[in-house]
Structures are given as structure tokens and as C-alpha cells.
């Protein structure tokens, strides 16, 4: 496990020294997860406001006659709206979705390429700037997009479809005991292969992205070389991946536990001394607010730290070769 600690130390040093890397980390965080949480948040707001509205009217018996009348009148008016307006709306939505997907794909792949390239410069003790990192991203974003889409698609075709077939075979053979056993066996074998292949492909993509960005090789070539690297260093990758997961969990639990303990202490103090308790709770509130506002920055730093650990392992593995 010493080699993992060594990687963490080096990674921490690189991230601490090169602060422009944090910006790439923030872009990665913002483009990969923020939009989803935002959507759910807004959905939550809508549902809560809807619930609030319903509770304020709960005193009277529900009467839908006005609602029905208004709705039918509005529907009547909307039915008279020219079809061309709806067609324009539908076309606009489709174009917006397609363009949005293309843009987000380009931004994510650019950010990944830029981060990997800039981290590599940092590892080589070269100056890291937004421009130098960005150039890596610009040069490699098409290849990174290929790596983001094609292996996943191949995985789907090569693994998922046979897995679904095996599921059907199991259901078909369910009547007899022997058939049931064979069916379960086939299903379990496919399940094992699916998990293993999923891990191997994900690991290959991790290497392939670094090969294509740092060494400038083609996407397919990088994926092939990545696959070879996975075969020889699979356990190391699993160890680092698990270690990173544990680290993430520990960080999350530590932050949540510290905030929880502080709130509990504040509530406890409130019963003893109201003023001190209030001050403590207000301070905790402000700290939590600052943490929330700067969550993108902290998330970015952690993401880039994670990327750096993989880059360092990649360099170690590559130098051995």
C-alpha cells in the first residue's frame, strides 16, 4: 500500500503547486454532475410549491368546476393556435437538445484532455497555464469523444445483448429443475463476464485517454494499448480505484460528521445558554453556506487530485514499459 500513499503525496504536491489545474477540475465537476442536481432541485421546488398551494386550499372542499371550465377554455384557445407555431417549437426543442448534447460532449472531452495534459506538464515540472492545458484539450477532444462513445457502445452490443438473451434462456428453461440450474448457471456466468468486461473497459478508457492526450496517438490505437496495459496492471488499478473511493467516502463522512457534531453541540448549548447556542448555530450556518458556495471549488480540487493519481500511476506503468 506504500505505493498508493506515495502517489497521493505526489498528487497532493502537484495539485497544491499548480493552481490553474483547479480551474480544469471545476469545469469537470460543473459539466459532469451539476446539471443533473440542478434539474432535480428545480423539480423539488416545483413539487414543494405545488404542495404548498394545495395545503393552503385544504380548508375548503375540492371543487373542480371552475378549474374544468378554465382548462377547457384555454384548451379551446390553444387548439386554435396555428400548427406552424407548435412545429417551430418542436423543431427548436429537437435542435436545442442535439446542439446541447454536442456542446456538452465537446466541453467535457476538452476539459478531460486539458486536465490530463496539464497534470502531465505539472508532473514534468513544466509551468501549467490555462492556455497550455487548453491546447491539450483542443488537440485531443475528438479522440476523447471517440473514447467516451465507441467503447461503451461496443460494450453494450458485445455484453448487454448476450446477457439479455441469457436472461430469456433462463426464463425459458425455468420449468424443469435441470433447466433451472443450467439457466441460473448461464445467467451467473454472463453476469460475471459483464462485470469483469465493464471494469476492464472502464480501466482501458482511463489509460487510453492518457495515451491519446499525452502521447498524441489515435483513439483506436490508444484504446488497444490501454487494453494491453489493463491486462498487465489490472490489480493495481483496482487497488487505486478502491482507495480513491474510500478516500472520497472518508472525506464526505468527515465533513458531514463535523457539521452534524457542530449542529448537535449548538442545539445542546441552546438549552444551557440560549445566546451562546444561537451564536454557535449562526456561525455553523455561515460556514455551511460558505462551503456550499465554494463546493464547486472544493469539488474541482478533489476531482483534479483524483485525475492526478491516475496520471501518476500511468506514468509509472508507462516508464516500466
Amino acid at each position: 500500500m506504500d505505493w498508493i500513499i506515495e502517489i497521493y503525496k505526489k498528487s497532493f504536491g502537484i495539485v497544491k503547486k499548480n493552481r490553474w489545474l483547479w480551474v480544469f477540475g471545476m469545469v469537470l465537476v460543473a459539466t459532469s454532475g451539476a446539471s443533473f442536481s440542478g434539474n432535480f432541485q428545480s423539480f423539488g421546488n416545483i413539487s414543494s410549491s405545488f404542495n404548498q398551494g394545495s395545503t393552503t386550499n385544504s380548508g375548503a372542499a375540492p371543487d373542480f368546476s371552475i378549474f374544468t371550465t378554465v382548462l377547457s377554455s384555454i384548451m379551446n384557445i390553444f387548439s386554435q393556435v396555428p400548427v406552424s407555431a407548435y412545429a417551430t417549437l418542436a423543431i427548436s426543442v429537437v435542435i436545442a437538445i442535439i446542439l446541447g448534447m454536442i456542446i456538452s460532449l465537446v466541453v467535457i472531452s476538452w476539459a478531460q484532455g486539458a486536465a490530463i495534459g496539464a497534470i502531465n506538464d505539472g508532473y514534468n515540472n513544466k509551468p501549467v497555464t490555462l492556455r497550455s492545458g487548453s491546447l491539450y484539450g483542443i488537440r485531443s477532444f475528438k479522440r476523447v469523444i471517440w473514447l467516451m462513445i465507441v467503447p461503451g457502445l461496443l460494450y453494450f452490443l458485445a455484453i448487454i445483448i448476450p446477457f439479455i438473451i441469457s436472461l430469456f434462456v433462463m426464463i425459458a428453461l425455468w420449468d424443469s429443475t435441470l433447466g433451472r440450474l443450467i439457466g441460473i448457471l448461464i445467467f451467473l456466468i454472463f453476469l460475471f463476464i459483464m462485470i469483469l468486461a465493464s471494469l476492464a473497459i472502464s480501466a482501458s478508457i482511463i489509460w487510453a485517454k492518457r495515451i491519446t492526450v499525452i502521447e498524441g496517438k489515435g483513439a483506436y490505437q490508444s484504446f488497444k494499448e490501454g487494453w494491453v496495459l489493463v491486462k498487465t496492471h489490472f490489480l493495481k488499478m483496482i487497488a487505486l480505484g478502491c482507495s480513491n473511493c474510500v478516500l472520497s467516502c472518508c472525506l464526505g463522512i468527515t465533513i458531514a460528521a463535523s457539521i452534524g457534531a457542530a449542529i448537535a453541540a449548538g442545539i445542546g448549548l441552546l438549552s444551557v445558554n440560549k445566546q451562546v447556542g444561537m451564536i454557535l448555530l449562526a456561525t455553523i450556518g455561515i460556514i455551511v453556506l460558505i462551503l456550499l458556495l465554494l463546493s464547486l471549488l472544493f469539488g474541482g480540487i478533489y476531482t483534479i487530485f483524483n485525475y492526478t493519481t491516475w496520471n501518476i500511476l500511468y506514468r509509472q506503468v508507462r516508464s516500466k514499459k
Binding site: 384555454i74 390553444f78 417551430t88 487548453s134
Partner: protein, 213 residues
């Protein structure tokens, strides 16, 4: 703020240029709504033109806006807003940005700069080369083409704000004063009013609705 020609343009002057472009976009939207509002005969047509406006300016607006920024920057070296304040965008070689470089600067660059409450835009203030994060990632430099043009920019921005407000009021008036749309709305209100007694019957309250109801 009032530096020499060909020197890096500062935050304030670029901020005005940025807002002129935004105001121009709003002018286009409001003019569209104004003329479509004037030509509509009834409420369904008004709703139809609003749907078209939302589709073009609301849903596709962002893409059209970025296309406009990239196109004008690659073709003329600056957007209308930047031209008015007298600044120009160039790449590392000292040429105009290409269309692709423009798209990159405005889509990816602006995304980067808008992180952490627009810290990348505010970076222009402290950077010695007056580069924001979007300039850094795209390798662009914004320089002044003439001195004291920011005054024209401020005046243009004020004019656009006043003009947009004027059109905005005009749109509201044209909708309110449209007799057919008014009639359609009144029809809905009347229909709602007609259903009122039914509602009262469903929720009887003895002190308000005596036996003769």
C-alpha cells in the same frame, strides 16, 4: 480606463461592450414580439407568435447568440458591442480569430469564466495582460482600437436600454388594447363567472347562502 490605442482593454470597457450585445439581443426579441403582436388578430394568434418567439429566442436564443458572437468576431474582429466601445479581439498571431476559435472562445471560454460566480471575467481586473480565463483558454487578446470610445459605448447602452423599455411598454399596450384578444380573455372570464353559482352550491355555508338559494 482611458488608455492608449493597441493597449489591452480593461474590465469596465469590455463589460459595457458585453452588455450592449445583450441589449441588442433583447432589442431583436422585443421588436419581433412587437411586430408580431401588432399583426395578430386574436388571442390564439398572439399565443402562436409568443410560442414562435420563445422557440427562436428562448430555446435557440443561446445558440443564435453564440453564433452571432463568433461570426462577428471572426468577420470584423469584434462584436457590435465591442466595436461601439472601440475594442478588438485578436489571436496569438495578431490576426482575427477564426470562426472555430470564436466559437471556442465564447462557448467553452465563457463556460470556464462563469465558474465561481464569474471569477474568470473578474480576472481581467487583476491580470497584467487584461486576460480573462476565456481569453487564456482560447489564446485571445482584447485591445483598444481608439481612445475614449467607451463614452459612445455608454451612450449606446443607455439608448438601447431606453429603446427596449419603450418597446416593452409598447408590447404590453398592444396586447392590452387588442380588441379581439381582449374579447377572448373576457369570454374566458365570463365562462368562469358562469360557473360560480355551481361552486357555491357544492360548498354551501349556511350563514351566507340562505334557504332560497
Amino acid at each position: 480606463m482611458m488608455g492608449k490605442v493597441n493597449q489591452p482593454a480593461g474590465f469596465f470597457i469590455r463589460f459595457i461592450g458585453y452588455f450592449i450585445d445583450i441589449a441588442l439581443f433583447w432589442t431583436a426579441l422585443l421588436l419581433f414580439l412587437f411586430f408580431s403582436g401588432l399583426s395578430t388578430k386574436n388571442l390564439p394568434q398572439l399565443i402562436g407568435s409568443s410560442i414562435v418567439a420563445i422557440s427562436i429566442f428562448g430555446i435557440l436564443g443561446g445558440f443564435i447568440y453564440y453564433f452571432y458572437l463568433a461570426f462577428t468576431t471572426s468577420r470584423f474582429g469584434a462584436t457590435v458591442g465591442k466595436m461601439l466601445v472601440g475594442v478588438i479581439v485578436k489571436n496569438e498571431a495578431g490576426n482575427y480569430l477564426t470562426f472555430k476559435q470564436g466559437l471556442f472562445r465564447y462557448i467553452i471560454g465563457y463556460t470556464v469564466s462563469s465558474l465561481l460566480f464569474g471569477l474568470g471575467f473578474l480576472w481581467i481586473i487583476r491580470d497584467p495582460k487584461k486576460q480573462g480565463w476565456h481569453d487564456m483558454v482560447s489564446g485571445s487578446y482584447v485591445t483598444k482600437t481608439s481612445e475614449n470610445r467607451w463614452i459612445i459605448g455608454v451612450l449606446a447602452l443607455l439608448f438601447l436600454i431606453a429603446f427596449n423599455s419603450f418597446i416593452g411598454v409598447g408590447i404590453i399596450q398592444s396586447v392590452i388594447e387588442n380588441p379581439n384578444a381582449k374579447r377572448d380573455v373576457e369570454e374566458i372570464i365570463n365562462q368562469v363567472k358562469d360557473t360560480q353559482p355551481q361552486q357555491l352550491y357544492i360548498n354551501p355555508s349556511p350563514q351566507f347562502y340562505p334557504n332560497n338559494y
